[in-house]
Symmetry: D2
Subunit: 369 residues, 4 copies
Amino acid sequence: MTMQAIVHRLTMQHPGDLGALAALFDAGVLEPANVAAVIGKIEGNGGVNDFTRGYFSFALATLMSERLGTSRAEILERIPCVLSGGTEGVLSPHYLVLERRQSGAPPSSAGKRLAIGVAFAAPMAPEAIGRQAHIDGIAGAVQAAMRDAGIDDANDVHFVQVKTPCVTTARAAAAAARGASVVSTDANRAMAYARAAGAFGVAAALAEVDRSALTDQAMLSDFAIHSPRASISSGVEVDRDEVIVLGNSARWTGNLAIAHRPMRDALDLPAVTATLAELGIAAAPQVSAADALRIRGVLVKCEPDRRGAVRGHRHTMLDDTDINAQRHIRGAVGGLVAGVIGDGRIFVSGGAEHQGPDGGGLIAVIAEI
Amino acid sequence: MTMQAIVHRLTMQHPGDLGALAALFDAGVLEPANVAAVIGKIEGNGGVNDFTRGYFSFALATLMSERLGTSRAEILERIPCVLSGGTEGVLSPHYLVLERRQSGAPPSSAGKRLAIGVAFAAPMAPEAIGRQAHIDGIAGAVQAAMRDAGIDDANDVHFVQVKTPCVTTARAAAAAARGASVVSTDANRAMAYARAAGAFGVAAALAEVDRSALTDQAMLSDFAIHSPRASISSGVEVDRDEVIVLGNSARWTGNLAIAHRPMRDALDLPAVTATLAELGIAAAPQVSAADALRIRGVLVKCEPDRRGAVRGHRHTMLDDTDINAQRHIRGAVGGLVAGVIGDGRIFVSGGAEHQGPDGGGLIAVIAEI
Amino acid sequence: MTMQAIVHRLTMQHPGDLGALAALFDAGVLEPANVAAVIGKIEGNGGVNDFTRGYFSFALATLMSERLGTSRAEILERIPCVLSGGTEGVLSPHYLVLERRQSGAPPSSAGKRLAIGVAFAAPMAPEAIGRQAHIDGIAGAVQAAMRDAGIDDANDVHFVQVKTPCVTTARAAAAAARGASVVSTDANRAMAYARAAGAFGVAAALAEVDRSALTDQAMLSDFAIHSPRASISSGVEVDRDEVIVLGNSARWTGNLAIAHRPMRDALDLPAVTATLAELGIAAAPQVSAADALRIRGVLVKCEPDRRGAVRGHRHTMLDDTDINAQRHIRGAVGGLVAGVIGDGRIFVSGGAEHQGPDGGGLIAVIAEI
Amino acid sequence: MTMQAIVHRLTMQHPGDLGALAALFDAGVLEPANVAAVIGKIEGNGGVNDFTRGYFSFALATLMSERLGTSRAEILERIPCVLSGGTEGVLSPHYLVLERRQSGAPPSSAGKRLAIGVAFAAPMAPEAIGRQAHIDGIAGAVQAAMRDAGIDDANDVHFVQVKTPCVTTARAAAAAARGASVVSTDANRAMAYARAAGAFGVAAALAEVDRSALTDQAMLSDFAIHSPRASISSGVEVDRDEVIVLGNSARWTGNLAIAHRPMRDALDLPAVTATLAELGIAAAPQVSAADALRIRGVLVKCEPDRRGAVRGHRHTMLDDTDINAQRHIRGAVGGLVAGVIGDGRIFVSGGAEHQGPDGGGLIAVIAEI
């Protein structure tokens, strides 16, 4: 028996609308037990008070628990659900349901095919967040997810999505009560450290950077150190690391594959077209309608350049008191990538510290080949 | 003596910073008397309470009045200054100073060159706004600006910027006192009618649409009627139409030319590359750094599609209570165009009713050839 | 057997957090079957894209269905749940669970006590919304809810919360397909008409205004016509009217009562203190900590004055492109009322057309007496 | 000759509108040379990208320079102009022009009268900002302004407005080039330190706190240390401290006086009524229309409580990605104070670290007595 990865790209009318997934279950197209992970772009603000993530997760857990006859809590501990709030500009709310299916077919003889692996780490003490133990924990989880995906060679990994805990006021207080101190008592700063540790963990697992260079001092400081395959989100809703590894494997069958590129800045259009080209899709200048149908998922990380300029020209994202900088950059990079592909269903997430080049980010595309 | 058009693309540290223009004056590079018009993209919110436009205009009038020895009021009546607020995403605050210079050189023998014309209409009664007389008034001003530019053939016009009055509460009351009624007492609606009349006026002047089709009923209703060269802004700060015509003319000299294309929607990347190609600039996929230096100005109009979807995929711009829809679309389209050119100095303006195809807009580029 | 009304004022950590209600159930303090209605103030933006309302409703329906052994749909059709998004400034997220309990005690001999009634109208055709049939439908539902509350005299009604359908694009299209037309195709305008019809329906049911004066022409036009006891919300999530009537009745027992006052504008502090005084609570200038404990619920409606000034001084709420006007006014009036009471748990809702005086609104307070 | 203080409370149509001041000059009511300082509440967002402050300052400097025959730069170095952006909720844009006039009358025999003093410190090195030298510099400037006001006893000072420089990226770089380091390279953090140093400087000058307690360690840490009379703003537009002292003095004449109170939190209504009572104005519950005419200026500082709750109830200001926390708190406290007085012309400013009690702030009122 071989495994086959299928990506269902579904749309929603609002953040609690899982009707499209329920319809797939009802039609027998998708077995609930085959759902390996969910990655979604939803229409909240993407900030601290974005409750659309909780709403979708609750609705998903309710649906899955009803279909699988388990508790909601069990679902949340078994199926990673990674959501990015903010469908600025032309971005369109959607979610990818990653299916793993037993297949009677042999592995594809035409080349490696999309492989999906997931892993959950053990719960983590708040004082470990953003420090060396955090890096090691994530590296271990990434390697476990690679094994789960049947990927031996780190070069075959193209996108690693990590969801990792952050320091909350309550967690910091609990640590203090034990005599331990957290990496930062500033919530946003601690969250940035968590993302940095996540990126460092991925870089370590994939041997992109020498482990000895991944020091505490380098975090949020030496931005030359980065992983062009790491996509990290940090949030209060988890107490341990969740990892989704997407890559290509000779052991899998089907017709999907994945490719990726770092983006050097928010204007890096060539990175988009190069990624597509690797999957045999031309953008001259735009992907044809026929080729667009082959695309199953587009995953992007980006950042408002912290130095205040893009290619030498001042931007105003960081000083805007009205619109959060992450909303600005998602809208801009989303507009660029959607324009190349001709489709607004793009997963674009901000907070890209050490995830791709400084001031840039990365792009991964899943497509039929 | 022939005329030569020069476009100075200047940057600013804040909306009241005209230091770069003052420096050009001080260096003798630009004669104050040669300034024909100013078009700027500044970092306000682009909404009703965007006071950065007033700030820049006041600072410009102060500088020009000091250099030309005239009053501030005189400057504002002689030099059209069109500003669009909102530098969302990668957009970079900048302004174009359009210079008209007497040249000893003959007209370019290598082809038509950039020509600039301006015109001011007579003050308009508020009850005329958004109606047939408004269309005719703008059409007349556009033709006057074409004559000022030395352009005989409407096909040589590539971009028409109009600044036109809107109905304010006070103006509506004044009309009512005379027994006249305005097109709408809803300020936003009346402003949309003013923009529609502006677009219709440009379409009439350029003979793009049969004058008889430009009815009151068609305004804000039949969006198939549009001008792909009209860029209209409507505001309280003016009491009469101001028009800037940009085109190419065999009577002008220099090395600049302008081209334009309609954009069919917010993802119309091919329109951007086609406009550049007409100026001999390749985007494969991105404009080279050398070619980017040839570009002097990029002017874009766009709209959040009022039907709620782009190419069949739902967008969330129109229902967002936190971020104005025009800010969303400027960020997205700005990100796309800036990505093609590799430069965030793009003038992107919303409110594109009848200015380019419904749900889309238009692009014009000025470049060295 | 008499009835007793109990108001549980509960707090939440996020919009999906019903832990406090579940705890009351678990502790046996509140029988799930006794829950008559829920009124909540939650931390969304209060606008079209406020999904916290849907999140809370879904979580409430899930909890209640699990405790009552019914479907989620059944819960939503039986228990009115009215939510107002937006906890601007000092407002604190909370919800009131209105309990109706059978009591062995006789009706209070010391005076009338808080009575709660609810009613659901029949589903309504979209073309009826905002018109005479809508007014009559709501008036009928209000009278049904009064009967449900055991209130005979309209003077004993102090607060009527109505949740009424609005016209959506889909509903307008369905009406058009039948050859019927809706009151307005502008969604916000149609929603304002729905609120106006709601207020007119309450005014009719309570005989506050002569029925013949409640014309279509008066809606959104003659703001002198209003009900100082009507609180209307209109939304896509309902297809028929839901009504909660709160008043005082000689047939009920317990120790709670309700009082109300119109607020003439956003600065009407005397209306707040007069309402409290009627319940025997002094604010000199602030409610004492002991008296504050007697207060169970504070319900406020308010509006940014559409004439652009409050007591002759210009406000900037209506022209703010960054912050929605309703968010502004909720924050200001919430700050005032919370300051008098010394507590941020105030239900403050905007969109007060014909609900209290023009530019003002109303206040109702439930307290122990 | 004695001095008389007159406060002109003027309104504006937009942030560049100084027509009301020009009219006072034209009418001979106010001599331009008598303008001592300006304090204004204007309709920007109050954040980093609030350019309405620059617009107003530029327009004021232009007007004053035309009337006094001096340069704009000279005006800005002589007349302190302190502006707070953000007229949330019912707040109304206005500015106070503080006039000092020679009077033939003797000092008031009925008691101390309003006295105004100003002072400018020497320019400050960026590395001094937010440190001990900064505290001393401000303390010195406050004492100079007290002397300028003819106030000997610190108890007669009721409000000290300080405008102090902040660390910018450029200033930090300049310091680094000299081998000096700044207090924080995080711009917002450095600005908070500057405000803390300002408050400490006022506390030192007024002997409110023992100088030895005003340590670097206490800044932004021990919030029990505060001045209930300090109102500090920090901004890029100044390179040295500007101080306005308002108090009462036996050497001045006229009919104005000032009083103040600390506000213990955002609900401290009793502080408002107590301040008014000291000036002989009752609020029972609201100031009468007649008494409201006696009020010339209301000055408030406030803060969103950094502990996340007000009187034990959770607020959501600090976690709101859509609306800045300072905008929230200004709207709420402004609504409260305006409600007591019945007038939206209240100067409310955020960023109140060490300015009044933690989580609260202060209020000062100028009125006819």
